[in-house]
């Protein structure tokens, strides 16, 4: 205690001396006045050290709620497409999920980006991810294992945005569709490889080049906003270009969906080879009057075009 007081006194004396020597208008010669932080008892006068602000993140239970909502939305997607077979309901779900997971939750947390976290967590013993992230990554895959890509349909906000801008779908030649689809594998491989690299090569490119997160946040890097806008303009004519040609999570969902027991089916009991459903599918997921389930994105357009169950049938 005594030594601190004497240090302070010495420092004070030194400073006063310095002030005397320093003419006004000149910079001072700075010397640190104390060697240790004075504590409450040293300061005296019933001084209380103020609390340091500790702003807390979003509550853990709200994050759990996100996962629950995602699971519920996928359940609704399965029910609406496989049972109700209604495009209107799919659109309602799409808008709701775009609002919540897209604009309200600002595109995070998403299974697409979590590929990177999961790959790092599976290989690096020092890296762990919260249970919420694990759930977000595995739930859509689990649903796909039984019912197909219900997540892509109404739940994924990136898909939802593209689904809503697709107004004038053009047919992509099958060969071009297949060739461009290979890009996804390169993107998935590159993203996982980069995620596993040590600093400074380490990067999460799926998040870095997420074309739509800038819209969800209403802010972002200019070049990403331009790329996102380009995807949306292209998406007016080409069905879901990001999902079909880039989305790395789509690759995983496609693999798992190959094993699925159920999924979208068309004309299940009455044959009618008009081919209107094949014409209506903007994703090339109906070939030879049969659904190619790994490519089916749960949009329910085919039901809507069907003369047996769409609005044409209802008008009759």
């Amino acid at each position: 205690m005594k030594s601190r007081a004497s240090t302070l006194l010495a420092a004070a004396a030194g400073l006063i001396l310095l002030f005397a020597v320093n003419a006004a208008g000149q910079a001072m010669q700075y010397e640190r006045p104390v060697q240790a932080a004075p504590q409450e008892e040293g300061i005296g006068g019933s001084y209380k050290t103020p609390a340091v602000q500790k702003p807390q993140p979003r509550s853990y239970w709200l994050e759990v709620l996100d996962v629950v909502l995602m699971a519920v939305a996928m359940g609704i997607s399965v029910w609406v497409v496989l049972r109700r077979r209604s495009r209107k309901w799919v659109l309602a779900l799409t808008v709701a999920c775009l609002g919540y997971f897209g604009f309200y939750r600002e595109g995070c947390i998403c299974p697409i980006g979590s590929i990177q976290n999961v790959s790092v967590a599976l290989t690096d013993p020092g890296y762990a991810i919260p249970i919420v992230v694990t759930a977000v990554f595995f739930l859509p895959l689990l649903v796909a294992l039984f019912f197909g890509r219900a997540f892509c349909g109404g739940v994924c906000p990136l898909g939802a945005l593209q689904e809503l801008v697709l107004l004038k779908p053009l047919r992509v030649p099958r060969r071009l569709d297949r060739a461009l689809g290979l890009l996804r594998y390169a993107y998935l491989g590159g993203a996982v490889w980069l995620a596993l690299q040590p600093f400074p090569v380490h990067d999460f490119i799926i998040c870095r080049f997420d074309p739509f997160v800038g819209f969800f946040r209403m802010a972002g890097f200019a070049h990403m906003l331009y790329i996102g806008a380009a995807f949306l303009v292209l998406g007016i004519f080409v069905g879901r270009p990001y999902c079909r040609f880039l989305c790395p999570y789509g690759v995983l969902l496609e693999w798992v969906t190959r094993l699925a027991g159920r999924g979208v089916s068309i004309t299940p009991d009455k044959e009618l080879d008009c081919g209107l459903c094949q014409e209506s599918c903007p994703y090339g997921a109906i070939e030879k009057m049969r659904v190619v389930r790994p490519k089916c994105l749960y949009c329910a357009r085919c039901f809507e075009s069907c003369p047996r169950e769409g609005p044409l049938a209802r008008k009759r």
Partner: protein
């Protein structure tokens, strides 16, 4: 034909079961080593502004320029228990500026005037250097430029000011833009319980 169908059905079921097992197994592995809630955090021992041994250089302001949140989710925090409460604080005053008539440096260091200097208790005007002052950082004004952090450390200060992530503002980008830009890899994800610890400053490499 029907035999083939059932064989195929059995194979499909087996494949589905195997896939479910693989997915469930990896999910189980990840859940077992799960870390609760994790947040982005500044490692003060790595941050170039707060790590010891870096002096006489321009403060690094990448936390301000890279963050996607307006102004930045990173800000300076004065850990009061470590503060020297100096009469002339090198983080409050620009100590290289001219001395004014009161004998204090005439300019402040903070470009956004976010630090408030408040005397503690009674001030003895005859012994100015022996009075204590509280330095309070206004979290609304601060943009985490790091100037005060760089100034308040050895040899001039005690290192009570560090950069911290304001978790209420941080949007938890999976790929934190600051973390990618940071030359010292000082922005790391840690469990929330560890995010508010004041680390003893050192010269971590």
């Amino acid at each position: 034909m029907s035999d083939q169908t059932t064989r195929r059905g059995a194979l499909a079921r087996a494949a589905r079961g195997a896939a479910a097992l693989a997915l469930g197994g990896s999910a189980f592995y990840l859940v077992r080593k799960a870390d609760g809630q994790i947040v982005w955090n500044v490692d003060s021992a790595r941050c170039i502004n707060s790590r010891l041994g870096v002096t006489n250089v321009e403060a690094c302001n990448l936390c301000t320029t890279e963050c996607v949140v307006p102004l930045s989710a990173v800000r300076a925090v004065n850990e009061y228990s470590k503060c020297g409460r100096c009469y002339i604080c090198p983080a409050y005053f620009n100590i290289t500026s001219a001395v004014d008539e009161k004998g204090l440096p005439s300019e402040k260091l903070c470009p956004r005037d976010a630090i408030e200097r408040k005397p503690i208790g009674d001030i003895d005007p005859d012994d100015p250097a022996n009075n204590f002052y509280e330095y309070i950082i206004d979290e609304v004004k601060c943009d985490g430029c790091g100037k005060c952090v760089m100034a308040c450390k050895e040899p001039l200060g005690l290192g009570s000011i560090v950069l911290r992530v304001r978790h209420s503002l941080c949007v938890d980008c999976n790929r934190c833009a600051i973390s990618t830009a940071c030359p010292k890899d000082a922005i790391l994800q840690v469990p929330i319980e560890k995010a508010f610890d004041h680390v003893q400053l050192g010269s971590h490499d």
